[in-house]
């Protein structure tokens, strides 16, 4: 698998670092990692920094993860880029909303690197 460019969206800088470390532990070779603290920052970042994978929290200030997924689907630069949610929100309705909006995977916090591997590797392999 080629090295990939990832965007990690979470309002916690500590959690962004944990997600990046978990990606590396899952065997994902990272070329470049971009970070954003909320959905609005992530949308702005996507315009400047094209990526191959997005990992996104749901509960964030300014713009939450579900709205981000809906807005990202409208962006040409984000077309086909897999989005995997990583969130404390574990309800079925959140999962359904996220997947309906275009997310390709859903990981509940707390999570292990194995769960990241299980949910991220398949979406990197299967390009739409």
């Amino acid at each position: 698998m080629d090295k990939i460019r990832a965007l990690i969206v979470d309002d916690s800088s500590v959690m962004r670092k944990i997600v990046e470390r978990s990606l590396r532990q899952a065997g994902v070779e990272l070329d470049k990692v971009t970070e954003a603290g909320n959905g609005a920052e992530a949308l702005a970042s996507l315009q400047e920094n094209p990526v191959d994978l997005i990992l996104c929290d749901i509960n964030m200030p300014v713009m939450d993860g579900l709205e981000f997924v809906r807005e990202a689907a409208k962006l040409e630069c984000a077309k086909g880029v897999p989005i995997v949610m990583i969130t404390t929100e574990g309800s079925e309705s959140h999962v359904v909303q996220a997947l309906s909006a275009g997310a390709r995977g859903y990981i509940r916090k707390p999570f292990t690197p194995d769960q990241v591997k299980e949910h991220v590797l398949p979406v990197l392999v299967k390009k739409p």
Partner: protein
Amino acid sequence: MSTDTSFITRSHEENWLPVLELAVEEVFEIMLGCRVKPVAQAEHPPSSEFTAMIGLAGALCGVITVCCSAKSAGQMATKMLGDAAASQSEVGDALGEICNMIAGNFKNKLAGTDERCMLSVPTVISGEEYSLHSMADGKAVETVLLFENAPVAVRLELQA
């Protein structure tokens, strides 16, 4: 959508504490690599140098708090960052995330509640000179556990 919480109160009232304890234990084990067990609060009075809070709204209305010493908060941040040194802002950030994951894990364990309960973003207070006045005036449960031999208190307060 109904907002009647009476069934939740009836079915879970006697079980809040074990559910909270399990939620806490899982977060510490998965995210910090530490097995923790509840201890007697009288023998291990917790510090509140750092306090993280998450608000619950909807079917469950109240607040979950995590209180610990500055040293414990720093150790949690270091462990979360893979044994890298944590800055002061990262210490608060890490404790807030721990509280966030405990709250999320707790509500996800209550069948029928997770769909109808929302979490706030975390708030973290450093320093012990404060008084917390929660609008939650109903049932409260608390568990104290030992993390690196120091007590950490996790408290759930619910609106009646």
